[in-house]
């Protein structure tokens, strides 16, 4: 399934759940926040939430900031 992840095209091969995508991308789930098409998806929904083609996913982590 074709997705846009952090602005880049990505071919997802998993079951289309957010969880699967995070696994696929090797993200540290406990350190990651996520939006799909501008909507924030809470971690508790990641196993159930399913993605659709061309969804825009933002995966975010904490970095230094003032």
């Amino acid at each position: 399934m074709k997705l846009i992840v952090n602005g880049e095209p990505h071919e997802h091969l998993g079951n289309g759940s957010v969880d699967a995508l995070l696994e696929e991308l090797g993200a540290n789930k406990a350190h990651t926040a996520l939006m799909v098409n501008g909507d924030v998806i809470p971690a508790e929904d990641w196993t159930t939430a399913t993605l659709n083609g061309n969804d825009e996913i933002e995966m975010l982590v904490f970095v230094g900031g003032g």
Binding site: L25, A27, N28, H31, V40, F62, V63, G64, G66
Partner: protein
């Protein structure tokens, strides 16, 4: 002596120095400075996950710190809608009630937008955040943000990263005089003396980042700011002397010295 606790909303903090975590040359440098500073509240920003820069991920290092809460900021937000979105994302990760609301559309001066900030604050208060907005030193805006439920206000001393100190002191004094929520000077502070001055003026806390992060020795500077903040707070509580237009002797001006030339 009773402990001097800072209350923001329902949260209690034992330190009046808040730290930003940006600009440090390494994560270890930042962690050392945070520890040396004695801060109990540090700001963090959100950035896209990047497998190649996993070491930038501060979640792990920061979560190991005892007695330090996170305050995600909304940097990068160009308007109220984006700021609200950033705040929600930050809370997802931090599980912290605090959000540093910052909306500064102009990268040249990074100064806050009062209109968007006000709109975002209304929404974030509705969503039960403890909202600490980064704002211009504007007493009416500060009061309106207090009135709509912000937990504190954070007027700037000078533009971010300039180190120009308390250039807005006259307006900050008015904000303090009228405020019923904590007033935190955010941005512009360059030195512990400026931080001390802010506390002496009656500010409840200061938020410092560049001054510590880019110091030759960040950990030592963190410790210096800790002392400066404590010095300023202690002075404010001890009651500073008034200034005087006329000199007032601290020694007796006795005449014995000239009284006996023969």
């Amino acid at each position: 002596m009773v402990k001097d606790v800072l209350k923001i909303g329902d949260q209690e903090l034992g330190s009046r120095l808040f730290l930003g975590t940006g600009k440090f040359s390494s994560t270890q440098m930042m962690i050392d400075a945070v520890k040396a500073s004695g801060t109990e509240l540090v700001t963090v920003a959100l950035r896209r996950f990047n497998r190649e820069q996993a070491e930038d991920d501060l979640y792990g290092p920061l979560s190991e710190l005892k007695n330090v809460q996170l305050m995600p900021n909304t940097s990068g937000a160009m308007n109220a809608k984006e700021a609200v979105r950033a705040a929600i994302l930050g809370r997802e990760l931090s599980k912290s009630p605090f959000v540093k609301l910052e909306i500064h559309p102009n990268p040249h001066h990074l100064l806050p937008d009062p209109i968007e900030t006000y709109a975002a604050a209304i929404e974030l208060v509705k969503q039960d955040f403890l909202v600490l907005p980064y704002i211009p030193a504007d007493p009416v805006l500060a009061k309106r943000l207090e009135d709509i439920g912000c937990a504190a206000v954070m007027p700037l001393g000078a533009a971010i990263g300039t180190g120009k100190g308390l250039s807005t002191a006259e307006m900050i004094k008015i904000i303090i005089r009228d405020a019923n929520v904590p007033v935190v000077v955010d941005a512009g502070l360059r030195s512990p003396s400026e931080a001390a001055c802010a506390l002496e003026m009656g500010c409840d806390a200061v938020l410092v980042n560049s001054a510590i992060a880019v110091a030759d020795d960040p950990a030592a500077m963190g410790a210096a700011f800790k002392m400066g903040v404590e010095a300023g707070r202690a002075a404010q509580l001890a009651g500073l002397m008034p200034t005087s237009e006329v000199a007032l002797a601290s020694s007796p001006l006795t005449s014995f010295l000239s009284s006996n030339d023969k």
